[in-house]
Amino acid sequence: MRGGSLWQLGQSMTRRLAQSDKKAVSRRCFASDADLKKTALYDFHVAHGGKMVPFAGWSMPIQYKDSIMDSTVNCRVNGSLFDVAHMCGLSLKGKDCVPFLETLVVADVAGLAPGTGSLTVFTNEKGGAIDDSVITKVTDEHIYLVVNAGCRDKDLAHIEEHMKAFKSKGGDVSWHIHDERSLLALQGPLAAPVLQHLTKEDLSKLYFGQFQILDINGSTCFLTRTGYTGEDGFEISVPSEHAVDLAKAILEKSEGKVRLTGLGARDSLRLEAGLCLYGNDMEQHISPVEAGLTWAIGKRRRAEGGFLGADVILKQLQDGPTIRRVGFFSSGPPARSHSEVHDESGNKIGEITSGGFSPNLKKNIAMGYVKSGQHKNGTKVKILVRGKPYEGNITKMPFVATKYYKPS
């Protein structure tokens, strides 16, 4: 599984419908269900009508009783509560945790103000992306980070290997993987007002990208004002034994307006926000420059390097990358991952990496990579879906304007 492509997941669901060899399909399902990990909210999801599906080794809700379309729209009108406890949260501690992490990511971690964080990329020796992650410098001796569920084993092995080498040279760094905590994401216009009911801290002072450790609904939580939807919202790391109570409290305080929302809508929302899904829009062979994440490479880091693959990335910053990630609108059926992108004369210029129908815009949206030079907004393209070309054009992202809470 490529880091958990939700489209592939949807495909496997519908392929079941068309399967003539039903027995083989159901046997495969049975074998895998028993091995899936469950979050602290598993029973809660089932009780609320969650349709559970395998995702990155976990049993997760793809949707609830409302359709993916309604759920996606509701997030932007009211709000959504997501169980993202399958993702891996960890803390790096020690005097040298900042310089240590800087050997592995492109961010200017030293330059982050305490209690602030950012999206970053873990790179490999070729300058490609191992994973994307939201990192937060809590203090100079404590970094909190969250990595993708599908990349957990790979990322932890990578960090551990480099940590061993760093420590053997006298560096002071250690880690703690927060398997005792569960991550919930609360997103949408009602996120802040609802969460404010559950904490004494003044959330109006916590801006996008900022972090705080505080009491929420009676337990000590790590709170980051961030998300994967483009809306204002939070990711809340709560001790797992209190996760269900917190979820219940959030839903109750919103009087039903904030709804439990599954991975299907989460994927539609992040696509509308123009955000990459690792495994689709970013992979081992794609650099952060090609992915349009040059802004995430700290200024000092561009001058100094010092992270894996820096030579490749710095060269791309100088010469420009050969391919670039762009957004697309198109007519006809929604463009999906691996659909070819052609110029108007029929020459292949790129490939779609994520696509679907936008519930909020009511049109097809997609993202993918095209050859540099062909990447300007407005460029007319043809996208091949099931062998037939359909009209499209390149557009900037996000498709739906973001509403991050920033100081005015």
């Binding site: 939700l6 489209w7 997941l9 949807g10 495909q11 669901m13 519908t14 392929r15 079941r16 419908l17 068309a18 399967q19 003539s20 039903k22 159901s26 399902c29 049975f30 793809i62 949707q63 009783k65 409302d66 359709s67 993916i68 379309m69 309604d70 996606t72 299907g264 994927d267 539609s268 006809g332 059926p333 929604p334 999906r336 679907g356 129908f357 519930p359 099931r386």
Partner: protein, 157 residues
């Protein structure tokens, strides 16, 4: 929307057969139609057949956003794909339950693909064909068999 569908289903179901599925909402299976195991329904009228996807199929697919229709005059074969139905998350092939020649396609679905969800057996019909082999209908399931088939499939999930 869920409420409107439930009322429609209750109305239809009270006239005809209803199949009780594992979930709260009953998947509607109509008595007079025949069914393929890839979840298409067929209505035979002389040597013409109308088909679409079943309530069970549209429920599993979710909101349909696009229907790929075949060209008129094209021949279709039993069990083979002739088009596709796209939901927000996925694409599903539509297989022809019988062989024949496409004589009519439901153009309304181009503007309103959601009809496949709200009215899978009536306004959401997909194509009409002229049968080339009436005997093929024998290979399809009747409503009882199809209801059981759906229950068994759902139980495995």
């Amino acid at each position: 929307m869920a409420a409107a569908r439930f009322l429609w289903a209750s109305r239809v179901a009270s006239r005809l057969r209803i199949s009780v599925a594992q979930r709260g909402f009953a998947s509607v299976v109509l008595k007079d139609l025949k069914y393929a195991d890839s979840h298409e329904w067929v209505k035979i009228d002389g040597n013409k057949a109308t088909f679409g996807i079943t309530d069970h199929a549209q429920d599993h697919l979710g909101d349909v956003v696009y229907v790929e229709l075949p060209d008129l005059g094209r021949s279709v074969s039993q069990g083979e794909s002739f088009g596709a139905v796209e939901s927000v998350k996925a694409t599903s092939d539509i297989n022809s339950p019988v062989s024949g020649k496409v004589v009519e396609v439901n153009e309304v679905l181009t503007e309103s693909p959601g009809l496949v969800n709200t009215s899978p057996y009536e306004e959401g019909w997909i194509i009409k064909v002229e049968l080339s082999d009436a005997g093929e209908v024998e290979k399809l399931m009747d409503s009882d068999k199809y209801s059981k088939f759906c229950e068994e499939e759902d139980a495995k999930h």
